[in-house]
């Protein structure tokens, strides 16, 4: 094949340009540390990376939700624990009051104690975290219980999202925990009744109060168990989200980040190829017949 001047120059230009582009791209990969610097570098992986990023942002949000939910439930659990203790002491008072040998003064004293316990229980039922009343249903900004123990909240149930498709019931409305909603016992009413029974020395009423208090204690225990179960559940979800997040970070890195060893090897390879092309071209350009004709 005949070789003309243009062929020589064009092919040198073509290959030097091609090599220098490959050299440049290899350098970009090493310098940025990324396998994908723009979607076209690997469109499928770039799309995947975007989905991983959305997923991670979602996980972060769910973890935040879970953190807040746990704070809410832990706080509720503490209040319920105190409420439990209060009811247990109310029951002890009632048992003492049920003893037939009690004097009127003693019974009046017991009635005063029960009244104080009710006051403390109102404080616990009005427990609050970050301006949110815990046992108020949806009416989280107004005090759910007044001094007499009358409920002004509602039975609204609040859910939080803890995963793409999973929601968790968070709150314990006051009417379920302390009230008669759902076939339970109205604890404040029970304490009121007990106080009255103690004041007037109504033995039947006191007995009635004891059994109601036992049911109330069970009711609070059940609420605590529910809170505990939810906290436990949130912790489990949080752990699996952590795991998922870890996996997603790894996947994103695998998708997006350059394998440095490979990138540097590639860079060196391109460098050598580029230098070889330049050296060979320089030699080729120096050689022509005119040098040998005198």
């Amino acid at each position: 094949m005949r070789v003309s001047q243009n062929q020589v120059y064009d092919s040198i230009l073509y290959y030097v340009r091609k090599n220098s582009y490959a050299y440049y791209r290899a350098n970009e990969k090493v310098a940025s540390g990324k396998e994908i610097n723009r979607p076209s570098d690997n469109p499928e992986a770039a799309g995947r990376a975007t989905r991983y990023r959305t997923k991670m942002s979602g996980i972060q949000q769910y973890q935040e939700n879970i953190g807040q939910g746990k704070a809410f439930l832990n706080h509720a659990d503490t209040s319920l624990g105190l409420a439990y203790d209060l009811l247990v002491s109310a029951k002890e008072i009632a048992l003492s009051g049920a003893n037939a040998n009690r004097s009127e003064e003693e019974l009046l004293g017991f009635a005063g104690n029960v009244s104080a316990i009710r006051g403390q229980l109102v404080t616990e039922a009005n427990a609050k975290l970050n301006g949110q009343y815990l046992f108020a249903g949806y009416k989280t900004t107004q005090t759910p219980y007044d001094d007499s123990g009358t409920y002004s909240g509602d039975s609204g149930t609040v859910e939080i999202r803890v995963g793409e498709n999973s929601k968790l019931l968070l709150n314990l409305p006051g009417d379920e925990v302390f009230g008669a909603a759902g076939g339970g016992i109205d604890i404040f009413q029970t304490l009121n009744d007990l106080e009255t029974a103690l004041t007037i020395g109504d033995t039947n009423g006191i007995q009635q109060g004891i059994s109601s208090l036992e049911a109330g204690i069970d009711q609070i225990s059940a609420a605590r168990a529910a809170a505990g179960f939810r906290i436990n559940h949130l912790e489990n979800v949080s752990l699996s989200l952590d795991e998922l997040n870890f996996d997603t970070i790894a996947l994103l890195s695998e998708t997006e980040d350059a394998d440095m060893t490979e990138a540097i090897m590639e860079f060196s390879r391109q460098e050598i190829a580029f230098q070889a092309a330049m050296a060979a071209s320089a030699r080729l350009l120096q050689t022509n017949l005119l040098q040998f004709l005198e």
Binding site: R2, V3, S4, Q5, N6, Q7, D10, S11, Y14, K34, N37, R38, P39, S40, D41, N42, P43, E44, A46, G47, R48, A49, T50, R51, R53, T54, S57, G58, Q61, Y62, E64, N65, Q68, G69, N130, G131, Q132, Y133, A136, G137, Y138, K139, T140, T141, Q142, G153, D154, G156, V158, E159, I160, R161, E164, N165, N171, E256, N288, L289, L290, L293
Partner: protein, 558 residues
């Protein structure tokens, strides 16, 4: 029987011939780097021999019969074809590259991030529906999402405007090339009419045809008189002999202006060359990203608005939209023959509204069908038409069709849907929301009279949209859809890039093949110069010898 004068004559002819050959070699060397130059060669032949009788013929020397152009028409045609694809890829590549940058999420503040942040803000609001801080955060993320949509729209639109500029420039280039080729056609016909070959004119014209091929898809053929005819794809003539048509660009539309001034739109027929590549990138690829972004904006706004409309703000307000109501677009189809007109349409029920498109088709006199053209579902068949009556068959929408000069004819179609063009650019929060964070609807029921401030049902529902499959006919979430658009933009660039590399390589090969025949080799020409110089010296020697022979002859006579 020989003559001294014959020797001298042969010498003279040889001198001239070698000199001419040297001229041609010099011309070759001089034009070694001239683009489009085909090397030339002086073709020598023996002159008419002299009949000597029984001894046979005696040679009478040499002459140049023609100056030949070493031209490979097969490869040249191949190059002209290949360069059309190459031009298309080369022009497409930078347009798609700049469109791709719009979707670069690796930098960290793209539309994808804004979408996630928006739904996360709703999620946080669901955790604290009574908090004014979270409400403010929802508003801010709403503003940010709207401006991310706007930015994406504006950047894509800038890419399109730049592409239109490039289209205009390319059209100018094409017109100049066409005019010049027409001029050269005249020159070549003029000079070759006398039988001579117009090598340099032809080289120049070939180069221009090649350049024209790079710019636009064409078919060329040469007529008997040496003129070249150029047809566009679809057989429309761009140039015949010395008469030519010109192109005109109006935004993304390319027109061919014929001799009688008749204008035809050829945009859809351009597929090759720079012009084809630019038009394709501008009108197909970038426009499809734009359509996707508008669709995304429409469906985010419609679904968020629907749930928000049903929810209640902390201040007890309800039926508020989160994003300002998207404008509707209604209109008669171009084929309509009846005189009826369609009104602008109103959104009657935001929660029921979808971002789908609809058609009201008049299938019989006085009755119509309603079809959802996005899903293909027929919503109503054979409903009775009354002029001026509200048509409520499309969810959330009411439109009115009214008789004009005549009632709607059978076959008439009216289109109804959300105005998609520039939708992403116009997305803003509704004034009710922007003015009052407490109007952001987090509650499922009135928190003042029915539920309470802790009611988070609406917020939870809006936040849930982020994970719902709403896009692509309920098969993809917003962010999945977005990642698909992003990947498409990436694939488009990659295809253009690999096309460019492929065509560049084959063009390089073809050019090499052509240069192998037509290109100048300095080594070869140097060698030729030596050869012709030696021959020239020998011819001069011949003349010298014949003069000496004459001298000898003369001295005998003395």
């Amino acid at each position: 029987m020989g003559y001294i004068s014959t020797v001298m004559d042969i010498g003279l002819k040889a001198l001239g011939t070698q000199q001419l050959s040297m001229n041609v070699a010099s011309h070759n060397i001089a034009n070694a780097n001239t683009p489009g130059y085909n090397r030339q060669r002086a073709v020598t032949e023996t002159t008419e021999p002299l009949y000597l009788g029984p001894q046979g013929h005696m040679g009478t020397g040499v002459t140049v019969s023609t100056i030949e152009r070493l031209y490979d028409s097969f490869t040249t045609n191949q190059i002209n074809l290949q360069i059309q694809s190459y031009g298309s890829a080369v022009a497409k590549h930078p347009v798609l590259r700049s469109a791709e940058l719009v979707f670069n999420e690796t930098a960290g503040d793209g539309l994808g991030q804004a979408l996630s942040a928006f739904f996360n803000a709703w999620e946080s609001l669901a955790g604290h529906p009574e908090s004014s801080v979270q409400r403010e955060a929802v508003l801010q993320s709403g503003h940010q999402l709207a401006s991310a949509f706007q930015r994406t729209h504006d950047q894509l639109s800038t890419v399109q405007v730049e592409a239109e500029r490039a289209i205009t420039d390319t059209v100018t280039t094409i017109n100049n090339l066409t005019a010049e080729i027409a001029f050269l056609n005249g020159e070549i016909k003029g000079s070759e009419g006398g039988g001579a070959s117009a090598n340099d004119f032809r080289d120049r014209r070939d180069l221009l045809v090649e350049k024209l091929s790079e710019n636009i898809g064409i078919n060329t053929f040469e007529s008997g008189d040496g003129g070249v005819t150029i047809l566009l794809a679809g057989g429309m003539a761009l140039l015949e002999s010395s008469t030519y048509n010109s192109l005109a660009a109006a935004g993304p539309i390319v027109q061919l202006i014929g001799g009688q001034g008749n204008v035809s739109d050829i945009t859809g027929r351009l597929s090759a060359g720079r012009l084809g590549g630019l038009v394709d990138a501008r009108n197909d690829h970038v426009q499809s990203y734009m359509d996707s972004v508008n669709d995304l904006a429409a469906r985010v706004a419609v679904t968020v608005n629907g749930l928000h409309h049903d929810g209640y703000g902390l201040d007890g307000t309800t039926n508020n939209l989160f994003f300002q109501q998207l404008p509707l677009a209604t209109g008669p189809a171009a084929v309509n023959t009846g005189g009826a007109a369609i009104g602008p349409g109103v959104v009657s029920d935001p929660p029921a509204l979808t971002a789908d498109d609809y058609e009201i088709r008049f299938t019989a006199p006085g009755s119509y069908d309603v079809v959802n053209t996005t899903t293909g579902a027929t919503l109503t068949t054979g409903a009775a038409y009354t002029s001026g009556g509200a048509i409520t068959d499309m969810p959330g929408l009411t439109v009115v069709v009214t008789d004009g000069a005549s009632p709607p004819a059978v076959g008439d179609v009216f289109t109804v849907g959300i105005e998609r063009d520039h939708l992403a650019a116009g997305l803003v929060l509704s004034s009710a929301i922007a003015a009052s964070p407490n109007a952001v609807a987090a509650a499922g029921e009135d928190p003042l009279s029915v539920s309470g401030a802790g009611d988070n049902r609406a917020a939870l529902a809006v936040a849930g949209l982020g994970n719902s499959q709403i896009m692509s006919r309920n098969t993809a979430t917003f962010s999945e859809f977005y990642s698909t658009v992003l990947a498409t933009a990436g694939y488009d660039v990659r295809n253009a890039e690999s096309d460019e590399a492929l065509f560049e390589f084959s063009l390089q090969e073809l050019n090499s093949l052509r240069d192998s025949v037509s290109g100048v080799s300095i080594d070869e020409e140097s060698l030729n110069l030596v050869k012709f110089q030696n021959a020239y010296a020998a011819a001069a020697r011949l003349i010298n010898t014949s003069v000496e022979m004459l001298d000898i002859l003369m001295s005998i006579a003395r």
